[in-house]
Symmetry: C2
């Protein structure tokens, strides 16, 4: 067959074109009344203000890191790095732009029914999904082609994408929760006014937060994992002396990713919902169909292109694992399942028992996905070995398989905040009850798909970082061999690179590594607390000083912009220390303790990163729904003491699930990429060589 | 020199004799007024009720496990197992008995001043400390002597001790927090009556809880770690074909432990405090002096007995590491340091922000002790290797060094609940303000020493389980060699026993292992919630149904016993599932995935066990003190909204710091011991051999 890796750039371009087409589709829908446009305009303005400042910070960060890469490693690597961050930024910008239009248009269309509102919100999300996979795969292809098949150089691209993800995830995560916590605490708790009420000075910042946190953040996160999984497998497929373009093992991840894009485009096209349909089911059905199409397409490709069957099987194991992890995660956060109901029930005894119960179920929820990741990696390893392929390559392909449908996953995920915003705009613009009902339905579907996506993202990140660890090991081994060929003697031996747990360097590294995600989580959560404190003061001040604001007097408007400013500045200032820390400690461990210590450190950070990511995401989602369960009338309903207790849990859960939890995926990916990019230099120059 | 390992049983017997002497010293002090004796009697009665039921459950559990050991492994191992659990139980019983007398006697002596009250409370604690080390070391010596130097058989003894610890820790932990949470929630929050008020039906159960949780629990925990560290090093010292009695490397941990007892006896004798002295400083000074004496004694022994200098250095590194870990832990929970003050400050914004802030500092607090454990293990490994000793042996000696002063550590720790109880009894008996001031001073000193001890216990457990992992590996290797000698072919190779992180079995095991401590913590915390719920109902019922109780009418008494019963039954019923689970999953992983999977699993559980143990212990202590800081007048003081918010954090922290957190040490030790005991059988019979 004549199909080769160039299917990747072709499908990538197709994906971008479809995204652009959908962009114009969304764009030509009506934006409703002046009032609605005004609110949407304020959200847009706030989001743009955030992005502008974020990109400024990002630019400085990228330039500094690029300079370091250029000076200490390789100028071309630095170029790839910059390119990676730009591609991810463009995808995020495109996705955000359309999301900020789709919200109000979807709210307006809700007047005509669910079947009109849903496609606008979903296609708005699909722009993000398809832009992410399209730009990611196109970017990889460009670097691959221009570097004449140098897979290792793509690491630079991946590192750039992960820098963007780190910023988007942490910055967005801090922003969104600063605004949410502050708006809720003063608005709902102190002033007793409903959510999304236009009197609340924090309401626009809160709406902006949904977009910068969930749309841009999740998009950049999955862009990051997607690229990292592909590059990890490419590196594992390299055979020294064989040109990459002729080596099917290097090209397979590109081919499979390309076919994943085809499946995602189909999936996006298929999803629709009737006037009385269930949008949640429609989204899930779309995801399952995308998986099946991907499985069939890759099976055909495997057959016609003579790809090793074990490789295909590994990818399918990964994909199935991802879906299963998503579904089990859903159990722990679903409003109609035992964990949420029992936590709601426990709230009767007060806030403390609500916290203890929800936290405990969050701890239990760690087990199924970890078992899933364990079985997926074991299964893909074993099946790969059975077909004569290296086992870690199989694990990498499982990650690629899991992430192949990212286009569809991100589409469903970005749908969530669009629907949420649509509801917010409808509420603030005072639309009719029936319209609010429809936007509420969309919002509920968005929450379900968001819960599944989060589990999926963590599972995918788990397999990806394991693959990255293997890639890191591979690079180090190669560097060691080259050094040996040149007669350089080093303290580290090839055997030590197996990261033997009883090796004191590996063990020491691991003990330090497991602490990093914890410290990182603490830093970002403390940032939320600090910023929220400032914003709370500002909201209180406005209620105090602006006459008629609390009463909702005609013509009296809150100063939304000052809250947006506080959230923006705070978030971007606070993201620097944890970002720098995560990179600096990784390099310090490597350059002091050498490659073994770094290997142990990465493994440790992966273990603890997965634990905390799962714990925080799930406990947060669970508290949120326990509160909603009570609001729906159980155990005394809204306004009762039980409800107040549940609100405490919900507020604790906010930074858990939307700031710290989801940032951890990105953190461990970034750490792994930093290690891989510097692996060669560390092998040769680590302090441990010289003592 | 003629000194050999028999120094161990000799010092052990001396330790027991001193404990008995101190027991009689405490016993002959006055117990005060009838009222005081009545209260103390009620506490004693409650504690005895708990112990009686606990020992009944324990007996069944021990018999079942012993039967399994006898049938599947070795009847003599089963005997050692039973012996280990009995020795630990006797130490616990003795310690409890004296603690339950020392509390009221110390309260009475407080009438004459601090310098009279302190020695009674401290010597009461010292009985526990010296009984623990005495019985532990004597037990080990007996098994060692009778088995003609079979170090591996001592594993059975250690396993028995850890079974007792598991019961004491989990059962006691659930008990103490059930009572504490329930008594506080109804008493302090709903009824607005002070702590330790005799009107509260839960007050006796609460006082009992301090003893069964902190005295018996912590004693059994450190008994467990102490024995485990010694046996691990003994196994690592074995040279096939060389009689253990002639092998100094097997005997060193016994000798050092014996000298540690001598140092602890000195330390206990030295501690005293003046009329206006600071009991906290006195305790710390005693600990430091014990360390110095130990260092000098072992240095002398090393010189005269021709012990390898690296072995001594390893032990000292461990000891210093333990102290440093204890001190840094103290920073995060001290009432006058930034973490506590900032958390108190954050409580002004409500309960949720208090939780987020305290939790975040808890996350940060993980880092210093992990770094300490990492450096201690790396340092001891390196120094051992430098002197020609195996590195893991060095790590084991670091654990032995850290635990050598356990006699003194437990003395200081058991002092805490005695002082706490003394305060409670003084309060309930209506003693004068000045007396309450003195018991409050003692209580504060107890809290400080408790915080340090907890960090110390976790650090020691960390090094111990690493040493146990090495011992486990050693046993597996030996089994493999024997199998090879007999011509049996197995799936596992000697190289695979290095627990290479990129081995899919090791990785799969690790991913499962990291989930276990989380699930375990959740189970015990949910138990607390469940039981507290039942007890709360009972306390409310009594206030509702007993006329005059709330008003404190003369002659009206609460039914304390029903609360004691609820706590006892609940705790002991709930400890079975997590105990069985932790053993069953460990065996399942081993018998299915083989020795490699089990190695990864143990390492994973160690990593995550340390993380959660540190997080929960420290966050809990921090919340407790943040509340106390506010109660001392800051940010609105007692009764303010800020205080209410801090009470939520304190209540969340209760099961964190006194149930789940400290149980995790024991959990990971038990898991490691189960694995080691069954290692040989698993090597030969794991399913993975036959597929």
């Amino acid at each position: 067959m004549m199909i080769d890796w160039t299917i990747a750039p072709i499908t990538a371009i197709a994906s971008i074109l479809v995204a652009i087409y959908l962009y114009f589709y969304v764009n030509r829908q009506s934006s409703g009344t002046d009032k609605m446009q005004e609110i949407a305009g304020a959200i847009q303005e706030g989001a743009n203000a955030f992005l502008k400042v974020e990109f400024k910070y990002l630019a400085v960060f990228v330039v500094v890191v690029a300079a370091v890469l250029a000076i200490f490693l390789d100028p071309i690597m630095a170029v790839a790095y910059v390119f990676g961050s730009i591609c991810s930024a463009v995808a995020g910008l495109l996705g955000m732009t359309v999301a900020l239009k789709a919200n109000v248009k979807s709210a307006h269309a809700a007047k005509q029914g669910l079947n009109k509102a849903f496609p606008i919100a979903f296609r708005g999300g699909a722009v993000m999904g398809l832009a992410v996979v399209g730009l990611a795969l196109l970017g990889i292809s460009v670097v691959y082609a221009l570097s004449d098949g140098n897979a290792q150089l793509i690491l630079g691209f991946s590192f750039g994408a992960s820098a963007m993800a780190l910023f988007a995830k942490i910055g967005g995560g801090i922003y969104t929760k600063t605004a949410d916590v502050a708006a809720d605490l003063v608005g709902k708790v102190e002033m007793d006014i409903p959510e999304d009420d236009p009197r609340n000075p924090g309401v626009i910042a809160d709406n902006v937060g949904d977009n910068v946190g969930d749309v841009a953040g999740m998009g950049a996160d999955l862009f990051d994992s997607y690229v990292a999984s592909i590059v990890a497998v490419m590196i594992l497929g390299v055979i020294p002396g064989v040109a990459s373009f002729d080596n099917i093992m290097v090209n397979v991840p590109l081919i499979f990713a390309g076919l994943g894009i085809v499946a995602s485009i189909f999936g996006v096209a298929i999803v629709r919902v009737g006037k009385k349909g269930n949008p949640g089911n429609a989204l899930n059905m779309g995801t399952y169909l995308t998986c099946i199409i991907f499985g069939l397409l890759t099976l055909a490709a495997t057959y016609y292109m003579d790809i090793n069957f074990g490789v295909w099987a590994s990818a399918v194991i990964g994909l199935v694992g991802g879906v299963v992890i998503g579904i089990t995660t859903d159990y722990f956060t679903s409003i109609d399942k035992a964990p949420v109901i029992k936590t709601a029930e426990a709230s009767q005894t007060g806030a403390a028992v609500n916290i203890i119960t929800g936290f405990s179920y969050g701890l239990v929820s760690i087990f199924p996905p970890l078992l899933g990741i364990a079985l997926a990696s074991f299964g893909s390893y074993t099946v790969a070995v059975a077909y004569g392929v290296s086992g870690v390559y199989g694990i990498g392909m499982a990650a690629v398989g899991m992430l192949s449908i990212v286009g569809m996953i991100v589409a469903g995920d970005a749908f969530g905040p669009i629907a949420d915003n649509a509801g917010g705009i409808a509420e603030q613009a005072g639309l009719e009850e029936e319209v609010l009902d429809i936007t509420a339905k969309l919002d509920a579907a968005g929450n379900t798909s968001k819960a599944i996506t989060k589990g999926f993202a963590i599972g995918a990140a788990g397999l990806t970082v394991i693959a990255l660890l293997a890639a890191f090991q591979n690079i180090a081994k190669q560097a060691l061999e080259e050094a040996a060929a040149q007669g350089i003697t080093l303290a580290v031996t090839e055997e030590a690179l197996n990261f033997n747990l009883m090796d004191p360097l590996v063990l020491t590294g691991a003990l330090i590594g497991i602490a990093i995600p914890a410290v990182f989580s603490a830093m970002v959560m403390l940032s939320v607390g600090k910023n929220a404190f400032i914003m709370i003061e500002e909201i209180r001040r406005q209620f105090r000083e602006i006459p008629g604001l609390k009463e909702g007097k005609e013509g009296v408007k809150a100063d939304y912009k000052s809250c947006v400013d506080i959230a923006t500045k705070g978030a971007l200032k606070e993201l620097i220390p944890p970002s720098v820390l995560s990179i600096a400690i990784t390099l310090a461990v490597g350059f002091i303790g050498g490659i073994q210590a770094l290997g142990g450190y990465l493994a440790g950070s992966i273990f603890s990163g997965l634990i905390f990511a799962l714990l925080m995401s799930n406990a947060g989602g669970l508290w949120d729904n326990a509160k909603k369960y009570i609001e729906a009338g159980a155990f005394g309903g809204k306004g009762s003491e039980t409800h107040k207790a549940a609100v405490v849990g919900d507020t604790v859960g906010d930074p858990f699930k939307d700031t710290a939890g989801p940032s951890l995926n990105t953190l461990i990916t970034v750490m792994s990429l930093v290690a891989s990019v510097f692996a060669e230099t560390i092998v040769l120059n680590a302090l441990i060589n010289f003592v």
